[in-house]
């Protein structure tokens, strides 16, 4: 490194450390919301609508257990939740919380037929609708598919976002590693498996980039322009966003033992779900029971959930109205990248809008084939004129973000 380069690098490093010490706030999940239902460690969170009359059919976002849901609401300017709210939807999210000792015994059945089902019933009660839209993300998408197959009468639309359904592939690292994992020994010892164990696994996916290059790149991107307030603001925002992502990456909840055991054995090792052979509490999951409209969203460069793991869902269900969307981005980029706001959310909204009219309101209205297609929006349904919802109970509202 020549002298100039040395000085520049150390200037950036020094400036970066100064910014770190000055930053006081980098809150996550700041879109205003309220908790409307709790059960054990689970919370059902309702985002405050940003339009006067949201679409009547609400959306329940189900995230994975392995990370926290607020990746979908990480930065105010790159929030999937906020985007969906601005598109006119009524949005809820399941916050799984952090398992306690009892979590050792929680099964997939407890999550799907327990927590998700109870949350869905609560939303149906609040919104006075019979069916809702479920948007499942990653492992949450897998659970959502299980739920939709077991309770199709409560699901109006199913959207899966980078969700693994077929586990018989060697394209993803997790798929390769899980085949040789003795999950019984891990669960029998830990009970509730520490989040750090999974964190190590995720970091091993690309250790040099996740443990070294990421931090070098952070300081490399700092601009040194003395007296330039715009540059200073950009530097602060960049570091703030980096810290938000850093917080999310290492905020991995512990894993309920029995859930992890069944997920690894039945899904990753025996691939029972796509074969319609997975059983929850004595009830077999038959994907053919899924007849509602399905939107299957994938990321082309997904190293955790390869497209081969998500694509087969469309052939496994009985839905006539189904579509696949693939975006040129990665597993995380699909939620927080620039494409998320510019492409992913608008496409999801475009697909969902005509399908967010409750069935009762459609009785006398013939929905044309054109309305069922993905890319067009029917003339009678526009962003600014959603179908009026049935009267709902008054709810408290808040102008503040949810407490951390």
């Amino acid at each position: 490194m020549n002298k100039l380069e040395s000085i520049e690098f150390f200037e950036k490093f020094s400036h970066g450390m100064t910014l770190f010490s000055q930053l006081s706030d980098f809150s996550v999940g700041t879109t205003p919301a309220e908790v409307v239902y709790t059960e054990d460690t689970m919370k059902l969170i309702h985002y405050i609508p940003t339009v006067k009359k949201p679409f009547a059919v609400p959306i329940l976002v189900v995230y994975a257990l392995v990370n926290r849901y607020y990746i979908l609401d990480l930065q105010p300017d790159k929030s999937v939740m906020k985007k969906l709210l601005d598109e006119g939807f009524d949005v809820y999210v399941l916050d799984w919380g952090y398992p306690t000792g009892i979590g050792k015994y929680l099964t997939i059945d407890d999550h799907v037929n327990g927590y998700i089902n109870n949350a869905v019933d609560k939303i149906r009660e609040i919104s006075a609708v019979d069916k809702i839209t479920i948007l499942g993300v990653c492992q949450g998408g897998t659970f959502s598919v299980m739920y939709a197959a077991l309770h199709p009468e409560k699901v109006k639309n199913l959207i899966t976002l980078v969700a693994p359904i077929n586990f018989d592939t060697n394209k993803g690292l997790l798929h390769v590693w899980a085949k040789n994992l003795d999950v019984d020994r891990i669960v029998d010892y830990f009970g509730v498996v520490p989040g750090d164990v999974l964190n190590i696994g995720f970091m091993l996916a690309d250790p040099f980039r996740t443990m070294i290059d990421k931090y070098v790149d952070l300081f490399e991107r700092i601009e040194i322009k003395p007296g330039d307030e715009e540059s200073q603001r950009k530097n602060e925002e960049m570091i703030r966003n980096f810290l938000r992502m850093e917080k999310w990456i290492f905020d991995s909840p512990d894993q309920p033992g029995e859930t992890l055991r069944q997920f690894v054995k039945d899904c990753y090792q025996n691939n029972l779900l796509i074969k319609n052979a997975m059983v929850l509490n004595g009830q077999k999951i038959n994907l053919k029971n899924i007849t509602m409209p399905l939107l299957n969203v994938m990321a082309e460069f997904d190293h955790l959930v390869p497209n081969e793991a998500s694509k087969p869902l469309n052939d496994a269900v009985s839905s006539s109205d189904k579509e696949t969307l693939v975006f040129k981005t990665g597993h995380i980029g699909i939620f927080v990248g620039s494409k998320s706001q510019k492409e992913v959310c608008p496409k999801i909204a475009e697909w969902l809008r005509p399908r967010s009219i409750p069935d009762e309101a459609k009785k006398d209205k013939t929905v044309s084939d054109e309305a069922k297609k993905v890319k067009t929006i029917p003339d009678e349904v526009t962003k600014d004129k959603p179908t009026p919802a049935k009267p709902r109970e008054q709810r408290r509202t808040t102008t503040q973000g949810r407490a951390q």
């Binding site: 490194m1 390769v176 040099f208």
Partner: protein, 192 residues
């Protein structure tokens, strides 16, 4: 433990080591114990065996990673020779870092997605879990219980009871709600 049947040098070494251990010190460890504390002694000895298995798996894993490091260094050397002049210039530091990160990242990623790593990692995890479980059991038996302190086993038992009770209460509450709703909907208006 495995007998020697692999031509691979590393596998050969570890298999040889394991067999020597089994034929010598291992026999002492698996010997039946005597005396009033024979059960505790037996458990301690079994725990030692799990430690040896874990240590073997760990060393094997380290050896694998060392091989990959050597391979990455070789790849790095090949690339830098072509990128840099005989007299490496300080101006090429950034390029050197870029080559380093790409080469090491690529070499390690190739290893981490291999069947070898998956298999060895699985064995290492299993050996580690066995060792940890034995350590925990010994600690509970020989320290916590004699000192009348709660053990994880006790707490797990309580948590299991709590889980079952909680689930039962939820199911009963749901049934009561359904029955109440059914009762209300079929309620007969009394005659005046």
């Amino acid at each position: 433990m495995d007998k020697i049947d692999s031509k691979n040098t590393q596998d050969f070494f570890f298999s040889l080591w394991s067999n020597f251990y089994e034929d010598s010190f291992g026999k002492l460890v698996t010997m039946p114990t005597l005396g009033p504390k024979r059960e505790e002694s037996e458990k301690l000895m079994k725990g030692f065996s799990t430690f040896v298995n874990f240590y073997t798996a760990l060393m094997k894993s380290n050896a694998n990673f060392q091989s990959v490091f050597m391979k990455a260094m070789g790849n790095m050397s090949d690339k830098t020779i072509s990128e840099m002049d005989k007299d490496p210039s300080p101006d090429k530091y950034r390029a050197f870092y870029k080559i380093w990160i790409e080469t090491y990242s690529g070499t390690f990623n190739e290893f981490l997605k291999s069947e070898l790593f998956s298999s060895e990692n699985g064995k290492l995890m299993s050996a580690f879990m066995d060792f940890q479980k034995h350590s925990k059991d010994i600690f509970e038996e020989n320290y916590l219980k004699p000192m009348n302190l709660p053990t994880k086993t006790d707490i797990d038992e309580i948590n299991k009871e709590l889980y079952i009770l909680r689930k039962t209460v939820k199911e009963l509450t749901k049934q009561i709600k359904e029955l109440s709703e059914k009762n209300n909907s079929t309620a007969v208006t009394p005659l005046e």
